[in-house]
């Protein structure tokens, strides 16, 4: 049967994608960011997941104008990288797993999570930057992807606790899929950042460090963080961190921290990254 073997948390800053695509990753500004992922790329090479359930937010690319779903799941065969205003990133088309995605979608709805199902969508940096960070520059992504999207932009997003429980439900859905699949779940976005207004540039190292400290062993504390606390402490875009709690909820008890990284800045944002293996 399918099993979740590991979880990854990572920021998905668009400038990281631009740095890769423009050949700037060895420059002094960017080299420390990419060095933080060296261990993880080697680890992924050994871990060889079949599927990544990739939790991210659409940044006004395929969603947010006509429709603003709270939770969506992609059930398509493939996902094309979007043109976000400077041309599409030169990265491979992302291969989906429509049968597995449909199973998860149905299981979640039966489990009382009212998912919106997307049969077609283009994907932005929220998906492609994490794939580049964890798999490097490749001709073909070495995994199939089930996208799970969360509205973290139009207030109110779901609570962090609701996200954690969605993760628990995803784990139940995966465990009931009969095919033998090595599945990872990635929670992306964050860490602290604010991209608007006179408070733009907010970074809260203390908040971010506490979040990383507690993620493996004390998620109950993180589940209690309110919208107001995220907005105040982590910035208006730092509330993306609720998506890490979907990943954490899917991992169950006592995951093992294999790698951890934190760096300020990448463009406007604090970069956080963690690799957790399921117990």
């Amino acid at each position: 049967m399918a099993r979740i073997t590991a979880g990854v948390g990572t920021s998905h800053v668009p400038a990281i994608g631009a740095a890769i695509d423009l050949g700037k990753s060895a420059e002094p500004y960017w080299a420390p960011v990419f060095a933080g992922y060296d261990w993880s790329r080697a680890w992924e090479h050994e871990a060889k997941p079949d599927v990544v359930i990739l939790v991210f937010n659409d940044h006004a690319t395929s969603l947010m104008l006509e429709v603003v779903p709270t939770f969506d799941i992609g059930c398509a065969d493939s996902y094309t990288p979007a043109d976000e205003g400077w041309g599409a990133r030169p990265v491979p088309v992302v291969e989906g797993h429509a049968e597995f995605a449909a199973h998860i979608a149905e299981s979640l709805i039966i489990d009382e999570f009212d998912m919106t199902i997307l049969n077609e969508m283009e994907v932005d940096h929220g998906m492609t930057v994490p794939l580049s960070l964890l798999f490097g520059s490749v001709e073909r992504w070495p995994v199939r992807v089930v996208p799970v999207m969360v509205n973290v932009t139009q207030f109110p997003p779901p609570s962090g606790d609701r996200c954690y429980r969605l993760g628990e439900a995803i784990a139940r859905a995966v465990a009931s899929f009969p095919e033998d699949l090595n599945v990872q779940i990635w929670g992306t976005g964050g860490m602290s950042h604010q991209l608007q207004g006179p408070r733009a540039g907010l970074i809260n190292r203390e908040f971010d460090t506490a979040f990383l400290d507690r993620l493996a062993d004390d998620p109950a504390a993180l589940r209690k963080i309110t919208h107001y606390e995220y907005l105040r402490e982590a910035g208006s875009e730092g509330i993306e961190l609720i998506m890490w709690l979907i990943m954490r909820g899917a991992l169950g008890h006592d995951p093992v921290v294999r790698h951890r990284f934190y760096h300020v800045p990448a463009s406007n944002t604090a970069v956080g990254h963690i690799v957790l293996e399921a117990a």
Binding site: A60, A82, G85, Q154, F155, L195, Q196, G197, G201
Partner: protein
């Protein structure tokens, strides 16, 4: 059933309004900026970017945004556009079209030069100390 902790609603409007220099993008904002955002999303096509660059006024005539929103676009005044309902994930498509980095676009809202903003980020970003509450509650 899960034995999860169940927090309260997590916010009230007065708390959200008390965060300095921060505008919460709501359902009402989304409605108010719908035509502005339609324009922004149109810039995800190269031919539309070319048409906008060739004649900004004629291109903006295609969208029924308010005169204030239109002027905010012409002025690239992101703080004003956010005050008129806009959200940065839409607005950044304008600055992407202009060939600006996201950092340059965001930095314009902070009331600093691009160099000063970039230097602040390299030095660790804007501290939350003194930036949590207008009323001084935190």
């Amino acid at each position: 059933m899960s034995d999860s902790p169940r927090p309260g609603p997590g916010y009230d409007a007065a708390d959200l309004a008390d965060i300095p220099g921060t505008t919460i993008f709501t359902t009402a904002s989304s409605r108010r900026a719908y035509q502005l955002h339609r324009f922004c999303m149109s810039l995800m096509k190269a031919e539309n970017r070319a048409a906008f660059k060739a004649d900004e006024g004629a291109y903006l005539d295609r969208f029924a945004m308010t005169p204030e929103q239109r002027q905010g676009v012409v002025d690239r005044d992101f703080n004003r556009l956010i005050g008129l309902g806009g959200n940065i994930y839409f607005l950044v498509k304008i600055s992407n079209t202009d060939g600006w980095s996201v950092q340059r676009a965001v930095g314009t809202m902070a009331g600093m030069s691009g160099d000063d903003y970039a230097a602040m980020m390299v030095a660790g970003g804007r501290s939350p100390v003194g930036n949590r509450s207008i009323k001084g509650a935190h």
